[in-house]
């Protein structure tokens, strides 16, 4: 992996500290998250300690530090969704999957991401799983929605094993 990361960094020679964010974005583009090795390599490239990079990266919601799950759940926390109770939705999802926003479940089936606004305010509160939108989500109904993806996964696995 280190080699690969170095190749990405080579495309950004003479970078200074102010190119930290674009570099993090470039790496996340490739891996879907920021692997530890990448943070260390970027640190060497920009002469920045890992703690600083991690601090900056966690300041923004867009960066994640675990690979996405097979089913990626995005929860809108924009103003309209907030007013319509998206916090309860997020908590219900976190509880159901037993992971926090930004994390990936151990079986790698699910990951959660919080986004600022998905531009679907008329459907608030809204979540999307693998790009499919679910509108007017009720925290009580979260398990039902997630079950769809659990089922899909199960049948896919069964099909593969058959």
């Amino acid at each position: 992996m280190k080699e690969e990361i170095r190749k990405i960094l080579e495309k950004h020679p003479d970078s200074k500290r102010d190119s930290l964010i674009p570099l993090l974005q470039a790496v996340q583009e490739v891996y879907g998250y920021l692997p530890k090795d990448a943070v260390v390599e970027i640190g060497k490239h920009l002469n920045l300690p890992a703690s600083k990079i991690y601090g900056v990266a966690t300041f923004y919601n867009q960066f994640r530090f675990q690979p996405k799950g097979k089913n990626h759940v995005m929860v809108c926390r924009g103003t309209a969704c907030h007013v319509k109770g998206s916090l309860a939705v997020l908590e219900a999802i976190e509880q159901d999957l037993k992971i926090k926003a930004g994390q990936t479940s151990r079986d790698t089936l699910f990951s959660i991401e919080v986004v600022a606004c998905m531009g679907a305010c008329g459907l608030a509160p809204v979540i999307s799983v693998n790009g499919e939108f679910h509108a007017n989500v009720d925290p009580q109904k979260i398990s039902e929605i997630l079950d769809i993806y659990r089922e899909e996964k199960k049948s896919a696995m069964e099909a593969a094993n058959a």
Partner: protein, 574 residues
């Protein structure tokens, strides 16, 4: 200079300085939390706000520059109300844990709440309560629940120590201080110096205490419990009992330790003398046989870890000598045990250190033989004060006593180890004698004294001119390492102490980072050096006896087995 008016009094101010600096000089107190002398102000906490006539808003005095004719009110109704609100907001996110807190009675936040008469909780807590208590480090415990996010630890670690093990993570109400990837401190690049503990205004950072193990050993009939005290402890311990900085209470401390039930009380300054015999020999050996130069001292475990992880190419420059703590530990469980007929496994060897990194050092796997550690528990100066208080020992009722033989005699050179430049001064005295067979004309080596972070000198030893540098604070050390990397060649010997000022300002010392106190501590060491007659390590009769009876010669076979060590390259997330 121009005049400004503060609280209706005229005072003088220097152009360019901050309001805080001008009023402090005039003896007017303005509270601070995140402010750190000599570092750029961050203006994060807003506790230092003052009112300035003609200005709409209150200004943070730590960062606002004075202007001629300014009229300032440090204690106006508005300023005081604003400060109160700041404190109340900090308390809103704080556990009411004072009774169980290591900083009870010695906490800036608690002090401010008291000074500003906060008597009730005004704001409900908004912070999530799932805070981490990180007890993984052998040296330091981090309790995020008590952190008020002042950022001092982050700044010391980065700006003074050049380690940057920790930083602000996340944002808003989720913000915490943590190492990269929120991993625990023990796998981070932290060098265990404890400077962050000294800087922290609350109980969010503290030493990992070994009091329980020591207490248990003291009450265990099968254990033979001995204790050694480091050179820098006797000149700082008094502060924990309310005395002014710079008072040496060596004799009283020894008496108190004896009352606590320690079988033998040894002086680490003795093994500092021993270290000098080995280290000066090593230096002479390296210089005369073309060994790796410049040689760098190895008594400071934070510095060692720093080199191991950030500058592994310099590992061979480090002296192979163990630190005085470890040397004495090794000698206690070999020579002393043999001499007294005690099974080394029964000995529980404690040390009092000005340092939290010494806890890490004592636990390094190479610091012992056959599964017996050289040192079993390390207490900081602060912890030993607690032990003495707990036992109800009253210093007023004690008379001074002396440490035990065979490791109770020390030269003042060994004592000087407690402050920056001390190892160098002691080493020069002895190296001069080893090389020329004569004593230095004046034993005092002025150039390496004082609190400056970097001191350099050219020392004449016979025909040799030796280039020496004395550095304290790891950030300063890294600058010299960079110079050497870039081709600097005039240095032969470098003393590095991890903490700015040396052990007298170590991470295990009474919580004061005030320069005047630290100067007073250093001068206490100099006074000892000037008032006694045994001033060179090689003249220490008990050290000579140890060589005659046991070690035979510096750098000899036994020395290598017991007094020298090796280092490893460390991979850390940095």
């Amino acid at each position: 200079m121009f005049e400004i008016e503060v609280n209706n009094k005229i005072i003088e101010a220097v152009p360019g300085e901050t309001i805080l600096s001008a009023v402090t000089r005039a003896g007017i107190k303005v509270p601070t939390l995140c402010y750190m002398k000599d570092l750029a102000p961050s203006g994060a906490c807003r506790i230092c706000v003052v009112e300035v006539d003609g200005m709409k808003t209150l200004v943070p005095s730590c960062s606002y520059p004075v202007q001629e004719g300014m009229k300032i009110h440090t204690n106006s109704k508005r300023a005081i109300r604003a400060r109160k609100t700041v404190i109340e907001l900090l308390l809103a996110n704080h556990p009411d844990d004072c009774l169980y807190c290591v900083r009870n009675g010695n906490c800036r936040l608690q002090g401010l709440a008291e000074e500003y008469g906060i008597r009730e909780r005004r704001f409900p807590s908004s912070k999530k309560k799932d805070h981490m208590l990180d007890a993984t480090s052998p040296s330091i415990i981090r309790d995020q629940a008590k952190c008020i996010l002042c950022g001092k630890c982050v700044r010391v670690c980065e700006e003074i120590q050049n380690v940057a093990a920790i930083d602000f993570v996340k944002r808003g109400s989720k913000t915490v201080i943590a190492p990269a990837f929120e991993q625990s401190l023990n796998v981070s690049s932290c060098i265990n110096c404890g400077q962050c503990v000294l800087a922290c205004p609350t109980g969010a950072l503290r030493e990992k205490s070994s009091l329980r193990e020591v207490d248990e050993a003291l009450h265990d009939k099968d254990k033979y419990v001995v204790i050694q005290h480091a050179p820098a402890v006797s000149v700082t311990l008094a502060e924990e009992f309310g005395l002014r900085p710079g008072v040496d209470i060596n004799g009283l401390m020894v008496a108190a330790l004896r009352q606590l039930g320690f079988k033998k009380i040894f002086d680490t300054s003795f093994s500092a003398d021993l270290t000098i015999m080995e280290e000066a020999s090593e230096l002479v050996h390296r210089v005369t046989t073309g060994g790796k130069l410049p040689m760098m001292t190895s008594c400071s475990p934070g510095w060692i870890k720093y080199v191991e992880q950030f500058y592994p190419d310099f590992i061979d420059n480090l002296s192979t000598c163990k630190s005085p703590q470890q040397m004495l530990g090794a000698i206690i469980k070999s020579y002393f045990a043999e001499k007294e007929g005690i099974d080394p496994e029964k000995i529980f060897s404690v040390s009092i250190m000005p340092c939290v990194a010494k806890k890490f050092e004592a636990a390094r796997p190479e610091m012992g033989r056959n599964n017996i550690f050289d040192i079993d528990a390390v207490l900081t100066t602060r912890e030993v004060a607690r032990l003495i208080k707990m036992a109800g020992i009253d210093f007023d009722s004690l008379t001074p006593e002396t440490a035990d033989l065979p490791f109770g005699t020390r030269s003042t050179a060994g004592k000087l180890f407690g402050g920056t430049g001390g190892v160098m001064e002691a080493a020069i005295r002895t190296a001069h004698y080893m090389i020329t067979g004569k004593e230095l004309k004046s034993l005092m080596v002025e150039d390496v004294r004082g609190l400056k972070g970097v001191k350099e000198a050219k020392v004449k030893i016979g025909d040799l001119e030796v280039g020496v540098a004395v550095v304290s604070g790891v950030g300063n050390a890294s600058k010299i390492l960079e110079e050497i990397k870039n081709g600097r060649k005039d240095l032969h010997f470098i003393e590095v102490m991890t903490c700015p000022g040396g052990c007298i300002a170590g991470g295990g010392q009474p919580l004061s980072t005030d320069q005047e106190s630290i100067k007073a501590r250093l001068h206490a060491l100099y006074n000892i050096d000037h008032s006694e007659t045994l001033r060179t390590s090689h003249k220490n009769k008990d050290v000579q006896k140890l060589y005659d009876e046991f070690l035979k010669e510096p750098l000899g076979h036994k020395s290598h087995e017991l007094l020298h060590t090796h280092y490893i390259k460390r991979e850390v997330l940095s």
